[in-house]
């Protein structure tokens, strides 16, 4: 059988294929990636787009978690100060209920309670990064102003709105309680009880001082209950944070599986290609000069 005497084009094609393989391997080793262009593995490239989106979304959820943590901690510590202030008010109320006191003494106590009142208004007007945290969604105006003409002694300028923020895919957390609920709730109005205590102390009526003091106590336990909302939100954020960090690790592992290069395998492939290349070149160098003409004189 006659064979094709001109086999060099075929060998050149093969050499070209080996060189392409070497290039691909070198690129994979340099980048650490198996999928550099979508055509390297279209399905993996598409999945990588989604994986990158999830990774960057997870980073954002972590950022949200950190942002909220600061705000919720601030609210929590404001409420803790409110509770301290209310305890003081209760002891003032108890003092005021003592029948040995003079009217002047009672007026003095009333003034002290008033100062607690304005302290609590100040706490209720706590802001975080420029937003008032107890004004519902009306965060740009101070929620409380003192107003002796009102039954509760204050004007509430906020609303009953609440915000919630997504902190993981499909998980949102409520981020605020409106002041109307915390400080003027049906279960014990802080503002109302304090105003009542002031009025009672000013009037000097020991019975109503006693009643008002009891009401301040009720308000205290109600606020403590409200504070639990912030405590549990903070602890939810903490557990969410570790969940998100784990998620980040998972997504990164997934990314490596999707598009990462198998370095030992690629290195082996590269050295095989190099061996094949030098063998082919050596064989070519051996064969090409051979022809009958070499042996004729």
């Amino acid at each position: 059988m006659r064979v094709n005497p001109n086999y060099t084009p075929e060998i050149l094609t093969d050499l070209g294929a080996i060189q392409t393989q070497e290039q691909t391997d070198t690129e994979e080793l340099a980048t650490g990636l198996r999928v550099i262009m979508p055509s390297d593995d279209p399905a993996a490239a598409a999945a990588d787009v989604q994986n990158q989106a999830l990774q960057s979304q997870t980073d954002q959820y972590l950022q949200n978690t950190n942002n909220l943590d600061g705000m919720l901690q601030t609210a929590d510590s404001a409420l803790s100060s409110v509770i301290t202030a209310l305890n003081q008010a209760i002891s003032l109320g108890v003092q005021g209920g003592n029948s040995d006191l003079t009217t002047a003494n009672q007026q003095e106590l009333a003034e002290q309670v008033q100062s607690i009142q304005s302290q609590i208004v100040q706490l209720a007007n706590t802001s975080y990064q420029g937003s008032y945290i107890f004004g519902g969604t009306a965060t740009q105006t101070a929620p409380y102003t003192l107003d002796a003409t009102q039954p509760d002694g204050v004007d509430y300028n906020g609303n009953n709105g609440v915000n919630s923020v997504e902190i993981a895919q499909g998980t949102s957390i409520q981020t605020n309680l409106p002041g109307s609920q915390v400080f003027q709730g049906a279960g014990g109005s802080v503002m109302g009880a304090l105003q009542q205590l002031v009025t009672a102390l000013q009037s000097g009526n020991t019975t109503s001082i006693g009643t008002a003091t009891t009401q301040v106590g009720t308000a205290l336990s109600y606020v403590s209950q409200q504070r639990v909302f912030y405590d549990s939100a903070v602890s939810q954020l903490n557990s969410n944070q570790s969940y998100l960090q784990q998620e980040q690790v998972n997504l990164q592992t997934q990314e490596t599986t999707l598009v990462g290069a198998d370095i030992p395998a690629v290195a082996t492939e590269l050295s095989q290609a190099q061996t094949a290349q030098s063998a082919t070149l050596a064989a070519l160098a051996q064969i090409i000069p051979q022809s009958l003409l070499n042996y004729l004189k």
Binding site: S39, Q52, M71, T139
Partner: protein
């Protein structure tokens, strides 16, 4: 009866035949690296015998013709494979540029979607923050810009392909003119029963070049070959060529016509077919998906904006300008520049973030096309990847098959130096022997002549 002169005649004929054979061998050796060359073999025949009485005398040797050794069927298969291979190669080259636009998972439209939604998510933690609102606007702007530039890049790849179409048509016309000229001569020789030899090789090589440009049908007629495009538009008939024309079509794209008829959509195979396939089918397909994504995404975001309130307490205005149809992606721009106009609030108060949930819902909700924005984009990525991968596989397969066919043809038509050298030695020996016969016959003739001169008359 045999005679010295007939021996001389036979030897002289042998000298001629051997010279012709050496000629053919020499031509083979000379053309061993000429592309498309088919080796030639001298066809030697016995001369007509002469019969005298009971004796039949051989008539020496006749060099009947010098024949090119080739295989017409293989040539046609090669030209068919050529057009497939160069079509795939052309598409692969263009697709490599296309997939580059969708190759980076950490930048471009896909990453921009996520950045945009992340900036909204960030804003939800502090809805009155101007810097956070500004970040949302910037992210939206980046997204719009990347939509613009991706579409513009696709457009410019498309117009590059369009230029190639015109070039391909010019190349085809040059080749068909050359082929027609040769084809006329080949046809004449064939009519006379002559072997077109090297002329046929030249024509075949030109047809192979032509088939790299477009799909060519070959029909053998008595006037040489008739070449047509795949759908029967004539290119070469006898010694006449039919040039293709280019005309400006819609959208600034070049149409190809023949004798006044638009044949653009029927052209397949070869570089021209590959360029047309990319220009008229693949890239428009990607462009329309990109346009749909841009217009459906901006419509969804605008609708979500409209359900909320901006920082001024007014109902949300569109974030993106209304855009649809062809060019939607390159026309996508922001409709607002004031960060306060982002409608984060659901109740009109500045501190509310209730409407951000609606805006964020666009991230996961299915667009009218059936998938979420990021999923739609990732399917574009896998599409371009698959297209490129397929084209590459086709290039590899058709190259292998082309190599195989060329190898087969080479085994029939290729010049083997060992073989030629051996033949050369044979013809050389034969020539030497024939020359020796001439010398010998000459000596014999001399002897015959001397026969008379050495004899004296009897006394």
């Amino acid at each position: 009866m045999g005679s010295l002169s007939s021996s001389m005649w036979i030897a002289a004929q042998a000298l001629g035949a051997d010279q012709g054979a050496i000629d053919a061998t020499s031509n083979n050796i000379a053309n061993q690296n000429t592309p498309g060359y088919s080796r030639e073999v001298p066809v030697l025949n016995e001369g007509a015998p002469t019969v005298e009485g009971d004796v039949t005398y051989g008539g020496g040797v006749v060099l009947q013709q010098i024949q090119s050794v080739t295989d017409q069927l293989l040539q046609i298969q090669i030209s068919d494979q050529n057009q497939q291979q160069s079509s795939a190669q052309t598409q692969y080259n263009a697709l490599q540029q296309v997939q580059e636009l969708f190759s980076n998972p950490t930048s471009g439209i896909g990453a921009d979607f996520t950045s945009f939604f992340n900036s909204l998510s960030q804003l939800s933690t502090n809805p009155t923050s101007i810097p956070d609102r500004q970040t949302v606007l910037t992210a939206a702007q980046t997204l719009a810009t990347d939509f613009n530039s991706t579409e513009q890049n696709l457009d410019s790849i498309q117009s590059g392909l369009n230029q190639s179409v015109s070039q391909n048509v010019t190349q085809i016309n040059t080749l068909t003119a050359q082929i027609a000229q040769i084809n006329g001569q080949v046809g004449q020789m064939q009519q006379l029963g002559e072997d077109p030899g090297n002329l046929g090789d030249q024509e075949t090589a030109l047809i192979q070049q032509l088939s790299q440009l477009t799909n060519v049908n070959q029909i053998q007629t008595e006037n040489g070959l008739t070449l047509t495009t795949g759908n029967g538009t004539p290119l070469v008939v006898g010694d006449q060529s039919f040039a293709l024309q280019t005309t400006a079509g819609p959208n600034g794209m070049t149409d190809v016509s023949s004798q006044g008829q638009d044949i653009t959509s029927s052209l397949q195979g070869g570089q021209l077919g590959g360029n047309l396939q990319m220009r008229d089918t693949v890239i428009p397909g990607l462009l329309s998906q990109l346009d749909n994504l841009a217009s459906q995404f901006s419509t969804s975001v605008n609708a979500a904006q409209a359900t909320g309130y901006d920082m001024y307490g007014n109902a949300g205005q569109p974030l993106f300008t209304d855009t649809s149809g062809p060019g939607a992606a390159s026309n996508l721009t922001l409709a607002i520049t004031d960060p306060n106009l982002i409608a984060a609030s659901s109740d009109g108060t500045q501190g509310s973030n209730g409407n951000i949930a609606n805006l964020l819902a666009v991230q996961t909700a299915a667009l009218p096309s059936g998938e979420s924005p990021i999923d739609t984009y990732s399917s574009l990525v896998s599409q371009t990847g698959n297209l490129t991968d397929q084209a590459q596989a086709e290039v590899t397969a058709s190259t292998a098959s082309l190599n195989n066919l060329n190898n087969q043809l080479g085994s029939i038509s290729g010049v083997n130096l060992d073989e030629e050298t051996t033949n050369l030695m044979n013809y050389q020996r034969a020539y030497e022997a024939a020359a020796r016969v001439v010398t010998t016959v000459d000596e014999l003739t001399q002897s015959v002549l001397d026969m008379g001169s050495g004899v004296t008359a009897a006394p």
